[in-house]
């Protein structure tokens, strides 16, 4: 298809050649030029860069980055990576990059970085070698190393792609179970004691997770303070003491005990009552101050 179009183009746009033929009057099989460049007929198809315009975009998109493009250029010219001919490669690379720009292909920054690297290597090679630096590393060395490393991986990827793959090359053989197949369920053997201890654990855990609910106190400390004072006022001159334990009403439970205790502490703090102990290890006695 493409060749045909090119021939037609050549015929239409370059009548020069035709005139020449008729002048000679011979029916020599002449190769038609593909194009005229600076007045010269190009007979041979350019060995590179000959890509049908429609295919160009797809063609460029197939490259997996600058290293891939460079490898392609090197392989196409049958160059050895090791002698990386920097000048022609750089030139071709730049031509591709230009093409990419022309077709408005999104030009990844990596391609430009590679262009810069190539230009740098080229400029270094052009510089006269300084004899002083004996261990000068070839400027191409790093790029050659990267190209080789990339080529290894490129081939490895191809090999992985060639591996037999589930869904593509092979399918996992699977048979359905018989319809009357019974799934065997194994019932757990549980001891009643285990159940109890499990319950205990649960209870314990629930306790740990219990929230603190702040209730308005049903027993007021203030009220209890007055009650304690009243109780102490009821004492006689001769026996002003009330045993500490007598101030508590056990029926009220823990909460009552705490409130009474708080009330006593509060009263002591306010110096309204005092707490005394008559003998070592003896009962605590409380009296008005």
């Amino acid at each position: 298809m493409v060749n045909k179009t090119m021939h037609q183009d050549a015929k239409q746009h370059h009548p020069v050649k035709k005139i020449k033929e008729s002048e000679q009057g011979e029916m020599v099989q002449q190769v038609l030029p593909f194009a005229l460049i600076r007045g010269e007929a190009v007979v041979e198809k350019p060995k590179d860069l000959f890509i049908p315009p429609d295919a160009l975009e797809i063609f460029l998109e197939t490259f997996e980055g600058p290293l891939d493009l460079l490898l392609y250029l090197i392989r196409k010219q049958k160059f050895d990576i090791l002698d990386l001919p920097i000048s022609p490669i750089t030139q071709q690379y730049m031509e591709y990059v230009e093409l990419m720009k022309n077709v408005k292909l999104e030009l990844a920054a990596e391609y430009l970085v590679m262009a810069a690297i190539l230009a740098e290597i080229k400029s270094k090679l052009l510089l006269p070698k300084q004899i002083i630096e004996e261990e000068e590393v070839d400027p191409r060395a790093e790029l050659v190393r990267r190209l080789q490393e990339y080529e290894v991986i490129k081939q490895a990827a191809q090999k992985i792609d060639d591996l037999p793959r589930v869904e593509r090359d092979t399918h996992i053989a699977h048979v359905a179970l018989a319809e009357n197949f019974h799934v065997r369920t194994i019932d757990a053997d549980v001891d009643f004691n285990d159940l109890l201890s499990a319950l205990k654990d649960v209870m314990k855990r629930t306790q740990a997770f219990e929230h603190h609910h702040i209730h308005k106190e049903s027993l007021s400390t203030r009220e209890r303070m007055s009650a304690v004072l009243k109780r102490l006022k009821n004492t006689t001159e001769n026996a002003p003491f009330v045993a500490f334990s007598e101030l508590f009403t056990h029926k009220e439970g823990r909460q009552g005990v705490i409130v009474t205790f708080l009330a006593i502490l509060e009263l002591i703090k306010e110096s309204l009552i005092e707490c005394v102990q008559c003998e070592v290890q003896g009962q605590l006695q409380v009296k008005l101050k």
Partner: protein, 185 residues
């Protein structure tokens, strides 16, 4: 502990491999399938060996992958079998395969190291696909600035490509040993 004949052992292993949802390892076979039978690993291996023999020249073969043993169709039938399935199997891009190859051969590897070798940025889409397919996973972080994630391949990757271990990966192309400096003169 019950006794089991060699023939029944072979039948049982065969049927189990067919009905199991995923490959069965030797341990699965011994400890789960044959838990009630008195049988040692040697006999199970012998049964697997005889099954492999039985399936020679059949459309299905017994193979060992990373997670264990499974039956699968022979690869030479893939094209003809494909007609049974309406959906085309996914094709993976070269970018994805190269990334996968780097992780497989150079694991553990960071995303930055992959990008260095490939010379282009690794797209997030590729990493996402590889992670979603369970072919690669993160295995910690490299102790360098930024602590980048290290990627490794999984057993699912090996199973998918019918490999039983990483040592079965195709050999890498050898790097030419000639030093560059010599050839340049």
């Amino acid at each position: 502990m019950r006794q089991i004949s060699d023939d029944k052992l072979k039948q049982l292993v065969e049927a189990a491999l067919f009905v199991a949802d995923s490959p069965l390892s030797l341990a699965d076979i011994k400890l789960v399938l044959l838990a009630e039978y008195k049988v040692n690993k040697k006999r199970i291996l012998a049964a697997l060996e005889r099954l492999t023999q039985d399936y020679q020249n059949r459309g299905v073969e017994l193979i060992k992958v990373a997670k264990g043993y499974r039956f699968q169709t022979i690869t030479s039938l893939s094209d003809d079998l494909a007609t049974l399935f309406k959906e085309r199997t996914p094709r993976y891009s070269r970018a994805l395969l190269e990334t996968l190859a780097l992780i497989a051969y150079k694991q553990p590897i960071t995303r930055g190291e992959i990008e260095d070798i490939r010379g282009v940025a690794v797209s997030s889409y590729i990493m996402k696909t590889l992670l979603e397919r369970d072919w690669v996973k993160m295995a910690g972080h490299k102790e360098v600035p930024g602590r980048p994630a290290l990627y490794v391949t999984t057993d699912e990757f090996l199973d998918y490509f019918s490999l039983s271990s990483l040592t079965q990966l195709p050999e890498l192309m050898p790097l030419p040993e000639i030093s560059i400096a010599e050839t340049i003169e």
